[in-house]
């Protein structure tokens, strides 16, 4: 996913705790998100979900699979 690209969350891997936490912050299956920032060298990624911007560690970001819009 590139910066400024939009997509729909297709799958979230990882344990229940992480999924629950993401869910309570508004990151869940089917949600539209936009990538707003990403750092090289396994740095954090920032996404916009609804009206909030959320920064995720690299490992967490990798677990969120997104279906891209063209």
């Amino acid at each position: 996913m590139k910066i400024k690209q939009k997509g729909r969350i297709a799958q979230i891997e990882g344990g229940q705790i992480l999924r629950d936490r993401l869910m309570s912050m508004g990151i869940y299956l089917g949600k539209e998100i936009t990538k707003v920032g990403g750092f090289a060298l396994r740095g954090p990624t920032s996404i916009k979900s609804g009206r909030s911007v959320i920064a995720l560690g690299h490992g967490t970001a990798e677990k969120i699979l997104v279906e891209l819009h063209d």
């Binding site: 920032g37 954090p44 979900s49 009206r51 911007v53 920064a55």
Partner: protein
Amino acid sequence: MIKKIYLIGNPNVGKSVVFSRLTGVQVISSNYPGTTVEISKGYLQLGEDRIEVVDLPGTYSLEPTSRAEEVAVSLLNEFPREEMAVISILDATNLERNLYLTLQLLEAGYQVIICLNMCDDASHRGVNIDTKKLEEILRVPVISACAVTGAGIKFLIQRLPEASIALRPKTTYEERWKQLGVIIEQVQQLTHRHHTLREMLEDASVRPFSGILMGMGVIYVSFKVVRFIGEGLINNVCDPIFNNWYLPLIEKLSAILVPETFWHHVLVGDLINGKIDFKQSLGVLTTAPYIEFAMVLPYVLAFYTILSVLEDVGYLPRLAILLDNLLHKLGLHGYAIIPVLLGLGCNIPGILSTRILESKRERFIASTLISIGVPCVPLQAMIFALLGKYSGFYVGGVYLVLFSIWLILGVILNKTLKGFSPELLIEIPPYRLPPLAVLARKIYFRIKGFIFEAVPIVLAGVLVINLLLYLKMFNYVSNIFSPVIHGLFGLPKETTIALAIGFVRKDVAAGMLMPLGLTVKQLFISATLLAISFPCIATFVVLLKELGWKDLIKSTLIMIITGLAVGTLLNFAILRGI
């Protein structure tokens, strides 16, 4: 009958601001998630009743994931539900995400009243919310407010007795988000706005290239401004007041008391070349107030001014993104920069705010690194004063040494401690321009805290030191430690006293170094050791409370080893030629 009111809501929705408005109790509030890590209590007069109001740390759901959230949720279950009401505080600019917790509260059967905060910002951003409709759908009162200016708070208080239970069937996460989608469609209207400058700056700060540039700019400017305000106040305000107004008074006192007598020794201190010297006389009425008011206070004011601005604008979480990679190497994640920055002011709030970190391991690493490698602002002010007159090179050197310790120690702790550290997962707040009155109140609150906590200890500390010096009680102690202090660190044995005083207060301890006539190298080493060695006793108590005995001892051992190693290395290797 309501006896207790809890304020609950997502992180960074302004619970603490509402709390201050309701109770008149001033608490620190900022624009980043996790400002509140402690529970604050206050009272609200409602008709004839005095109701307790409790400000809770922010939480995203009723299933907690960090220590601060745990505290919030467990407190909610402590009190009988029929006697308490919950004010669910929402950020109107982000209604959907915020309502999630409200739905959980309703499902759980609490008496709820909703406060829609930041309504002014919402309309700025083109978000219009139909509160009547929302009230109809949820069947609990909804009040829109702007706590920072106080708008709407009166209505909130008026309608508090209407807080009610509006049970909803318990449901799953997915189902709840679906319901929310439907609710939002009905109550919220978005007007499309073009990207404003503010939004462009928000976006730029989370992108790699522009983000790093902005970060470096912010840090550089902050540092410059702190120096400018601090030095400016010292040279143009504090020093003139002390020299032109206070000195004549003390000279009169000195003549009345007669030099070389006991009381002169305690209150005025020793005469240096026949004169009173605020930096060296070491009296309760000379050096003690001079250190606090003319050397430390200007920097405390400067530091908290800048910190408060950065906090309220909402820049700090953006710094967390930039530093995430680096902090990962230390077993922390980017958000640990918040406790570290607070620790640069005073270690106590720094260590308390490690509660925003999720695991015990992270909290141990962060607290240990703060107490060893992060000097508080009073000590930093003294380091500027002690070494600054030689050259900025030495001042920078102390920071460089401390920063290296911080890095090396962090890497070692990360490699040796069991367990793993979770990843960064934080919400980045929008930029907000804090009203000046709000900023001023916050800075005033912090300065007042500093003066009330520090000054009595400083005066009492200098008094006790003077008595002990007069009775020559220190000789015994300094002789015992002489092999380490002199043998390893190359310092005169009198510095033992100063280092020991560091346990009471760091600024006084550094002040004790002034009359000793140390060389630059000795000043450098003792200032660095003061920063590394035992945190002051108040910090120690907080460390004990946060970590428990076992981890405190572990942390202390790490500190002693680090201090010994660094002192010796500096003396025999790094500063050898100086």
